[in-house]
């Protein structure tokens, strides 16, 4: 438990530093001369034609997100296997080879279906 209480303290510290600086210290000491033009979003220095929220951006990354989940779960499965790898020996190696082979079939299928082409 003592090992983990340090992490709680660190998390509180990581929270306290930006909160104290942004909400207590800098508002008192920083310069503040706001005007309407300064508060506009930056766009080449001329008045902005539109805001980002006015547009609909097509996010083409959702397939990457799906693939990421598959591979990240695979990594999570690999971690405990890797820890006990030397004790498991050839049996464990073959088992994992079968598991990875199934995943690789899916990976190359996605590759062939042009999921991994970005232009």
């Amino acid at each position: 438990m003592a090992n983990y209480s340090v992490l709680l303290v660190a998390a509180l510290g990581g929270l306290a530093l930006p909160v104290l600086t942004l909400f207590l210290i800098t508002p008192v000491i920083r310069a503040s001369r706001e005007n309407k033009v300064k508060l506009e979003p930056y766009e080449c220095g001329i008045p902005a034609t539109s805001l980002a929220f006015d547009h609909r951006f097509s996010v083409r990354y959702f397939l990457i997100a799906v693939l990421f989940i598959v591979f990240d779960v695979e990594t999570i499965f690999l971690f405990p296997w890797a820890i006990r790898f030397k004790q498991l020996g050839w049996f464990g190696a073959v088992e994992m080879a079968v598991f990875l082979a199934i995943l690789l079939i899916g990976y190359f299928y996605a590759w062939k279906r042009k999921v991994l082409s970005w232009v």
Partner: protein, 401 residues
């Protein structure tokens, strides 16, 4: 020891010491980076404030604290503040998990799932960038945020897979045990040459550094996700970037370069040898560790001075079509060699011939990969080439279309 002391006073003291060291290195790194870049580009770099411009380290934060902090009228207020605040929290926690010297005195805390916890925490850094980029309500910021989302998520996979090889050799998530395995054998860099290579490329991509700095590509996106940020909020984004560089360098030094030890096959400055010297030994160990970390940090700077930026499709290609198959191949090769070589299977200090064989195999794989990557796609023969000009497709369409 009374529980109040155990659970609160000691953790606070240890945390404060660790974080002071870390923030000092991060601040010093801004000066080191600018001086080194100046040196590499045949100019001086900052040299006015104090001897050799050293007080720039103090002058910069003071300036950033006093600067006007603009909150754009159209921004999404809550998320705009959360953006720069999120990435610091995991960074602070991770710094407590890394052993800077021989345990127990020089490790802030020791957790038996240390590596797993570190990888879980560092991957949350992307939230701050996406939130900040989206909340600014600026088209450039949004695109920078989207790019960083795709990039950091893509390189998370090879980052995780490259570590598996180290785990197979060392058999533990505990960073202290991983270092102690290396002092009995040899630096993991040798048997895990391919893994270290992938880890290094991925850690560059994870911390958004050149040549993977597309989220803040100034030639396309002004400043990317932090276009709308100024003053101290901008400083926190920069702090988070340097903190992530430092975390990754510390991890690389621990996993692949032997951490605080300097030994082969149990001879040299091992943990046992350092412990005999007491506090002095601990300080020597910490000095060795930080020497390795600073060397890796300088490689980051060297990259920034040397490499041009990737195009977005090249970046994604490298991550998905090269790094992932390479990382999986590395796991296969490591597995077969570890089971075939008797000295790798048992956990004792013998002459590391198995590791040397793995190093040769790894070097061959890397050489082959670099050859294939640099050769590029094969062009059709001159006669078969179409006469009309090739259709130009811009990489930026990926995020716009």
């Amino acid at each position: 020891m009374n529980p109040w002391m155990l659970f609160f006073i000691w953790p606070v003291i240890k945390f404060l010491i660790a974080i002071t060291i870390v923030l000092t290195i991060v601040a010093a790194m801004t000066w080191v980076e600018r001086r080194t870049l100046g040196f590499m580009q045949a100019r001086l770099g900052p040299n006015r404030v104090g001897p050799a411009g050293l007080f720039q380290i103090i002058a910069d934060p003071i300036k950033l604290m006093l600067k006007e902090d603009i909150l754009p009228a159209s921004a999404e207020k809550v998320a705009y503040f959360l953006g720069p605040m999120i990435p610091l929290l995991p960074a602070f926690v991770v710094f407590c998990l890394i052993p800077y010297g021989p345990p127990p005195a020089f490790a802030v805390t020791r957790v038996n799932v240390g590596l797993l916890l570190i990888m879980a925490l560092t991957s949350t850094a992307v939230y701050g960038i996406i939130l900040g980029g989206w909340a600014s309500n600026n088209k450039y910021s949004l695109m920078g945020g989207l790019r960083s989302a795709a990039q950091m998520v893509s390189y998370e996979v090879p980052f995780g897979l490259s570590v598996v090889g180290v785990l197979m050799l060392c058999g533990s998530f505990d960073l202290v045990k991983i270092v102690q395995y290396q002092e009995r054998h040899v630096w993991n860099l040798l048997p895990q040459l391919v893994g270290a290579f992938i880890f290094f490329v991925s850690m560059n991509a994870e911390s958004n550094r050149v040549p993977f700095d597309l989220p803040e590509a100034e030639s396309e996106l002004v400043a990317g996700y932090h276009t709308e940020y100024s003053g101290m909020k901008f400083a926190f984004f920069m702090l988070a970037e340097y903190a992530s560089m430092l975390v990754n360098s510390c991890l690389m030094a621990t996993l692949y370069l032997g951490g605080w030890t300097f030994s082969i096959a149990g001879y040299g400055l091992t943990t046992a040898a350092l412990s005999k010297l007491g506090l002095l030994g601990g300080l020597i160990g910490a000095a060795i560790f930080f020497a390795k970390v600073m060397a890796l940090m300088l490689v980051y700077v060297w990259f920034r001075a040397t490499f041009p930026r990737f195009r977005f499709d090249q970046l994604m290609d490298l991550g998905w079509k090269w790094m992932i198959p390479l990382a999986l191949g590395n796991i296969f090769v490591t597995g077969i060699l570890v089971l075939a070589m008797p000295n790798l299977k048992i956990d004792a200090g013998i002459y590391p011939y198995g590791e040397l064989l793995m190093a040769v195999v790894g070097a061959a794989i890397i050489a082959l990969t670099l050859f294939l990557v640099t050769r590029g796609p094969r062009r059709p023969a001159a006669a078969a080439r179409p006469t009309e000009p090739p259709k130009v497709i811009h990489a930026s369409r990926v995020s716009e279309a």
